[in-house]
């Protein structure tokens, strides 16, 4: 035990010293990885993605988005004349692997820049590892409030912070004339850092408008058999269902159980799943999708010219339709666009300069919409939309008044009709 004591004393002393020289180290590190790129040398961007394991479906969609962006930028001559080369490694959805991976990307592969992994669960460990090297970590999927509580200076999320996702939907519900307005609502959400804040955020607003909560339960995220939870939601017979889900299987299981129980809500919105394009249609059947809503910042038919360009290229490369493009793709693509803007504005690959620039209240345009970061790296300037499946079309139904908004299909048609 004596050895341990001595060791720890040395350790705490050294840590004080380390902390005091930190700023210098960080800036010098960042300097080392900066503009000193040889002429004609490619700029390497390190990314760890979950190409297998729990998050693999999203991880693979993210890979498509990143690659699409890299192709585009290279066609246009690269970043400041340097070709972009993506250095993608897999973390198998494991938080330890993600820590190891970013250290490898930066210290072994000597990548110049880093992009984030998929999922809030992995972006925090990744950002902490990147922060030690003074690297900016720009990511598209890690918007849970808990991610920003740490106050990392190098982390930027280009997507919509999750807490505000459902607000346009709640506004629409409360704006309905009394006669049409639903009388009851059921909330059911998985206990996930992504879904719970969204679902709780609108409960006050709806109950103030006189809509009675008849069911409000949290279910464990790791469950795969949703029959009984879905049955009890169905038994509550609420007019509106707000489902806090992260993936397609969850939504499809609930929908199937609702149909079996003969329960037809007037409106149904799920926080994640219906935005997954053809994957969602295939899982639930085209007829059942009719009327189901999802909050998001983007959709395949978006009128944004940057988005149109991206979607066209996506279809050229991977086939399918605009409605079939997963929103993961655009989240990843927008990460690239934000980085490109920062590199151009700062005139180099200096991470310290990039971080400073992104914190300078600039507003950037991406395929997903406008981006502006607050001091925590949250995007404070996104537009929240609500989308709805109408037939096999995925349409923007919120915010009301937007030129691209179409009329909400309400009440939702009976399942399978």
């Amino acid at each position: 035990m004596k050895r341990r004591r001595g060791f720890l004393r040395v350790l705490s002393l050294s840590s004080v010293a380390t902390a005091s020289v930190l700023t210098a180290v960080v800036s010098s590190n960042a300097g080392a990885s900066s503009g000193g790129l040889a002429k004609g040398a490619p700029v390497k961007i390190g990314i760890s993605l979950s190409l297998s394991g729990d998050f693999s479906a999203d991880g693979q969609a993210f890979q498509q988005g990143y690659e699409l962006w890299a192709n585009d930028i290279n066609k246009a001559g690269g970043l400041l004349g340097h070709k972009v080369q993506l250095d993608i490694v897999s973390d198998a959805s494991s938080p330890t692997q993600v820590v190891t991976n970013y250290q490898k990307l930066i210290s072994v592969n000597h990548d110049n820049l880093t992009f984030g992994p998929f999922s809030s669960l992995l972006s925090l460990p990744a950002a902490k590892a990147a922060a030690r090297y003074g690297y900016a970590l720009i990511e598209g999927a890690g918007g849970a409030p808990s991610v920003f509580q740490v106050g990392l200076h190098n982390l930027f999320d280009v997507s919509l912070p999750v807490a505000g996702d459902l607000l346009p939907f709640a506004k629409w519900v409360t704006s309905l004339p009394k006669a049409q307005r639903p009388k009851t609502v059921a909330y059911v959400t998985s206990n996930d850092p992504f879904t719970e804040p969204q679902v709780t955020s609108i409960q006050g607003m709806l109950s103030k408008a006189g809509i009675k909560t008849v069911f409000n339960k949290v279910f464990p995220a790791e469950v795969t058999d949703y029959t009984s939870i879905a049955d009890s939601v169905a038994a509550a017979k609420a007019d509106v269902v707000v489902l806090g889900s992260v993936d397609v299987p969850t939504v499809s299981s609930f929908m199937q159980a609702f149909e079996q129980s003969g329960y037809n809500p007037k409106a149904m919105i799920a926080t994640g799943g219906p935005d997954q394009g053809t994957t969602f249609l295939k899982a639930v059947g085209a007829k059942n999708a009719d009327g189901v809503m999802v909050p998001n910042a983007w959709y395949g038919a978006s009128a944004n010219p940057l988005s149109k360009k991206m979607v066209a290229e996506y279809i050229k490369k991977y086939g399918g339709t605009a409605a079939g493009v997963s929103s993961d793709v655009v989240e990843a693509y927008s990460v690239g666009e934000v980085m490109a803007a920062a590199v151009k504005a700062t005139g180099g690959f200096n991470n310290a300069a990039i971080i400073k620039y992104l914190h300078s209240n600039v507003t950037l345009m991406t395929a997903q919409g406008t981006v502006k970061f607050n001091n925590l790296g949250e995007n404070v300037n996104p537009t929240a939309f609500t989308f709805q499946w109408q037939g096999t079309k995925f349409l923007q139904v919120n915010p009301i008044g937007d030129p691209n908004t179409v009329k909400i299909l309400y009440p939702k048609p009976v399942w399978g009709k």
């Binding site: 490694v89 973390d91 902490k128 409030p145 740490v150």
Partner: protein, 344 residues
């Protein structure tokens, strides 16, 4: 001198581990080293009970998770600044894990082996689900530890050496236990529990003591993990694959031996981290891992360490025989052409 030469292998092994981050300074490799050491400590500790007594526990992640949450909660509630002082909490993680082990052991060790395995799994799930569902644990959002801002170049080293100290400590304890009367009683339980009982061994007390002792180092490992990771989530610190991994590492290296768990954990964890980072296709990796694993089990059913030891003793026997034969036939009629080629 004799003690040193007898344990030369061990001294070299630990010296190599101690020198590793000084020679290989790249954080990628030292990061793998940190995880490998945490598993080496956990596997050795697990083996000290499950290996010696034959009671396979598949719920050790309970101690790992309790250690991790202790570290995180104490750091947050006591407002420990983000520096080396955080390491003082590591032994507390071990102590709290040990405290939890007493009632768990008392309950789960009232039954025999196969049922014990399942009770440990059930207890594990109760802990994991509680960590997800209670609010003081941060629920599914987990807990963020104080954000340590050491420089990247040697950020990993304090964690590495903390892990190494833990490994040395638990290896010494395990070696000591193995030679003690207490260790012999555990082995007797493994060989034939009823007979051990008949011979007057207080089997229940011995088992609970062993089980409780094994929690400490695993709890410390969990605490170091929490500190290193900087953020803990319930499903990652109460991780069922941790339970399985630790057991596999021990079986692969050689259950009940001292070197087996260390070797098994070192090889498996480093290989897994390195291969995943280098070859990104996981399903191929699963096939490779499963296949290799199967081959090792089929050909070295006792684990690598006992297998190699058997081979080595056989070889030294052969060599001894050869030397003896040489002695008989000397002086050799054929002179070696060059003196450098002379061997044994």
């Amino acid at each position: 001198m004799k003690l040193l030469s007898k344990n030369l292998g061990w001294v070299v092994f630990f010296a190599a581990l101690a020198l590793f981050p000084l020679v290989v300074t790249n954080p990628f490799y030292t990061s793998i080293g940190v995880y490998a050491l945490l598993f080496m400590a956990s596997a050795t500790s697990w083996n000290m009970f499950s290996g010696y007594s034959g009671y396979i526990a598949l719920g050790s992640a309970v101690f790992f998770g309790v250690g991790a949450y202790t570290e995180a909660l104490l750091a947050l509630h006591w407002h420990v600044p983000a520096n080396g002082n955080l390491f003082w909490l590591v032994p507390l993680g071990g102590i709290i894990a040990t405290a939890f082990a007493v009632p768990i052991g008392w309950i789960s060790l009232r039954v025999r082996r196969h049922t014990f395995v399942v009770i440990t799994i059930a207890v594990f799930f109760i802990f994991q689900l509680s960590a997800i569902n209670f609010s003081f644990t941060g629920g599914s959002s987990g807990l963020a530890l104080p954000y340590i801002t050491w420089s990247a170049a040697d950020f990993n080293n304090p964690f590495y050496y903390a892990g190494l100290i833990l490994v040395v400590f638990i290896t010494l304890v395990s070696a000591f236990v193995r030679r003690s009367r207490f260790g012999l009683q555990l082995l007797a339980i493994r060989d034939d529990e009823d007979r051990a009982m008949g011979l007057g061994v207080q089997v229940t007390a011995i088992k609970i003591t062993g089980f409780t002792m094994s929690a400490f180092a695993i709890g410390c490992a969990g605490a170091i993990y929490a500190l290193f990771q900087g953020q803990i989530y319930p499903q990652f610190v109460f991780d069922p694959t941790f339970d399985v991994s630790v057991a596999l590492m021990v079986f692969l290296g050689g259950i009940g031996t001292l070197a087996g768990p260390l070797l098994g954990a070192l090889v498996l964890e480093s290989a897994q981290q390195y291969l995943t980072a280098t070859y990104s296709n996981n399903s191929l990796y699963l096939l490779l891992f499963g296949g290799l694993f199967l081959i090792v089990i089929m050909f070295m059913p006792q684990g690598v360490v006992p297998f190699v030891r058997d081979k080595l003793t056989k070889r030294t026997d052969l060599e001894r025989a050869a030397v003896a034969a040489n002695d008989v036939s000397s002086p050799s009629p054929v002179a070696p052409s060059t003196p450098t080629e002379v061997t044994a």
